[in-house]
Each structure stands twice: as C-alpha cells, then as structure tokens.
C-alpha cells in the first residue's frame, strides 16, 4: 500500500470513530457500564506504546542494563504524579534522559 493510501485510511478511521457516535448513535445506546469501561481506553492502549519504547531496543530485544530510558521514565512518572502537569512530565523526562546520556 502506498504511503498516501495508508495516511488516507488512517484519516478515515479516525474521522469515522468521531463521526459515527455523533451522527448515528443516541446516548441511550451507551449505558453507564460501557462508558465506564471506555474511560479506561487510554490506560489500556497508551502503555502498549510506552513500555516497548522504553524497555526494548530497535531490534526488539530487551534492554534492561545500561538503559537511561528506564530511569528517565521513572523520574518523568514521579514528576507527573506530583505535578499532574503534562509539560512538566515531558520536560523532566527529556532533561533527565539527556543528563544521563551526556553527563553521566
């Protein structure tokens, strides 16, 4: 599949998930239970991006020793929990990562 076709399909599926609910569904179709479970979607999906990017190297092998990403991610997480601030989380993570690879 060409890159453009891939981009268009990804755009379509993104649009359709947004559109289908507005256009087709009535709110009664979603009971409280389904809403409750859908509220867990970010917690269920995002770690599947986060964890492999931290713990695995480019070829998909475990990289647990000499891996500054683990420490940087832990620092970012702690700062995030304390500050509840998205920017502070990203910046503290990047800053500690750079500190670990350039200074230590």
């Amino acid at each position: 599949m060409s890159n453009w076709l891939l981009i268009i399909y990804c755009g379509l599926i993104t649009f359709l998930t947004r559109f289908s609910m507005i256009a087709l569904l009535k709110k009664e179709m979603f009971n409280d239970r389904i809403r409750e479970i859908l509220s867990f979607v970010p917690s269920a999906i995002f770690p599947a991006i986060i964890f492999p990017a931290i713990f695995l190297d480019n070829s998909g092998d475990f990289q647990l020793e000499n891996n500054p990403k683990i420490m940087a991610a832990i620092i970012a997480m702690l700062i995030g929990i304390i500050s509840q601030n998205i920017i502070a989380t990203i910046i503290s993570g990047l800053a500690s990562y750079w500190f670990l690879i350039f200074m230590v």
């Binding site: 890159n3 453009w4 891939l6 981009i7 268009i8 399909y9 990804c10 755009g11 599926i13 993104t14 649009f15 998930t17 947004r18 559109f19 289908s20 609910m21 507005i22 256009a23 569904l25 009535k26 709110k27 179709m29 979603f30 809403r35 409750e36 479970i37 859908l38 867990f40 979607v41 970010p42 917690s43 269920a44 999906i45 995002f46 599947a48 991006i49 986060i50 964890f51 492999p52 990017a53 931290i54 998909g60 990403k69 940087a72 991610a73 970012a76 997480m77 995030g80 929990i81 500050s83 509840q84 601030n85 998205i86 920017i87 989380t89 990203i90 993570g93 990047l94 750079w98 690879i101």
Partner: protein, 231 residues
C-alpha cells in the same frame, strides 16, 4: 456582535491553555516523521488528513517497526476507540445539527476541544453552543498544523544523538498522569505494558498494540465489576 461569534471566541479562549502541551507534541511528530522517512508533504498530509496526535504517532511507530498496513490501520482504530466515548457524550448536545455541521464538528473533535466543550455544554443551553466546540477545534487545528510544519523544518537541524524518539513514550506517559493515582488504572496500565513488551516479538503482524489493549480493557471490565461487588 452576534451570539455565534461570541461562543466561537469563548471556545478559542477556553481551549488555549490546553494548547501548551500540544506544541512539543506537534514538533516531535514533525521531526520524527521526517526521520522515519516520510516526505515533508506526506507529513503535512498526515496532520491535515488524520488530525489526531495519538493516531499519527502510532502510525509512525508501527510504520517504522515494519508493521503491515492492515495492522497499522486497525491499531489506529484501537487508539481512536476513546473517541467513541467523546462522541457518545457530546452527541446529545448536537443531535439537532445539520449533517454538514456534524461532519465538520467530527473532524475537529480532538481530546482538548472535547474536554473544554463538554464542560461548556453542561452549563449552557443556547442553540449555538456547538460554535464553542468549533472554536476550540479550530484552535487545536491551527496549533497542530503550525507545529507539524515547524517540526518538519527543525528536523533537519536536530542531531540524532539527542534521541528525540524517546519523547514519544514520554508524551504518552504524560497523557496518563491523572490515571497513576487510581489503583485500577495502574493495574490496567501495567498489564497493557507487559503484554505489549513481551508480545512485541511474538504477536504476529506487530498487532501487539491491539492484543495488549484488548487484554487490558477486559482486565478493566473485570476489576471494575469486582470493585462494585465489594462495595
């Protein structure tokens, strides 16, 4: 001054503080996309056509890992399933709109605009209130396109040694900061992460995002149910 315009401006005003984290996110996207090998026009096209930060980053991540198109598209769908919730919540306020407006609003229904307009809709009953979401959505759109463009330009000057790809997990981590304080969310986060990491090499077609997501969501369903029984 008509009411529509006032509500539109209110939308812009309300969503603006939430744009601060979008700036680094857009820059990172632009830089990484070029880094992975998409052309500047394709990169800009992604931001214009898809217009969703998480979707676009997942697209890049899986594309660079060599996943097939079908897996990339369905993973983007899985990431987007949270929009089902937004639409269902907002739809009651938009049910009287013409189809054209529903299409326009759907394109602009991104996380930040949803969060602000949902609060506004709960408090306001005037019939032009959808202009709030329109204003907020356009604000997000302008910031996203601008930062993507800047990322494309800056990408040429950013040394690879900086390891900017690490900003991807960090950005997603940052989106979860509110969930780290809730026990069920923490368990769901750990399960999803472990399944994805250990499944990375074993789940066929790089479908690890989907497998991890579904496993974690089922866990969430079980845990919330158990939690209610104990109350």
């Amino acid at each position: 001054m008509n009411n529509k315009f006032t509500v539109f401006l209110k939308g812009i005003f309300d969503v603006s503080p939430l744009m601060i984290p979008v700036v680094p996110f857009g820059l990172i996207f632009g830089v990484l996309s070029i880094d992975i090998g998409f052309s500047p026009i394709e990169t800009m096209g992604m931001s214009l056509i898809v217009f969703g930060g998480a979707s676009q980053i997942v697209l890049l991540q899986l594309f660079s890992g060599g996943a097939s198109s079908l897996v990339i598209i369905s993973s983007v769908g899985a990431v987007n399933s949270r929009h089902l919730l937004y639409g269902a919540v907002v739809s009651e306020h938009l049910s009287d709109l013409k189809l054209v407006w529903k299409i326009v609003i759907s394109y602009f229904l991104v996380d930040q605009a949803f969060a602000r307009s949902n609060e506004y809709f709960k408090k306001n009953k005037d019939k032009h209130k959808y202009f709030h979401l329109f204003g907020g959505g356009i604000t997000c759109w302008v910031i996203w396109q601008t930062t993507t463009f800047l990322g494309i330009v800056l990408g040429a000057f950013i040394p690879e040694k900086l390891g900017l790809s690490f900003a991807v997990p960090l950005t997603f981590l940052a989106l979860l900061v509110n969930d780290f304080r809730k026990l069920i969310n923490v368990i769901v986060i750990i399960i999803s992460g472990l399944v994805a990491t250990f499944g990375f090499n074993y789940v066929p077609y790089k479908a690890y995002v989907i497998v991890a997501g579904v496993t974690a969501l089922v866990t969430a369903a079980i845990l919330t149910k158990l939690n209610k029984k104990n109350e």
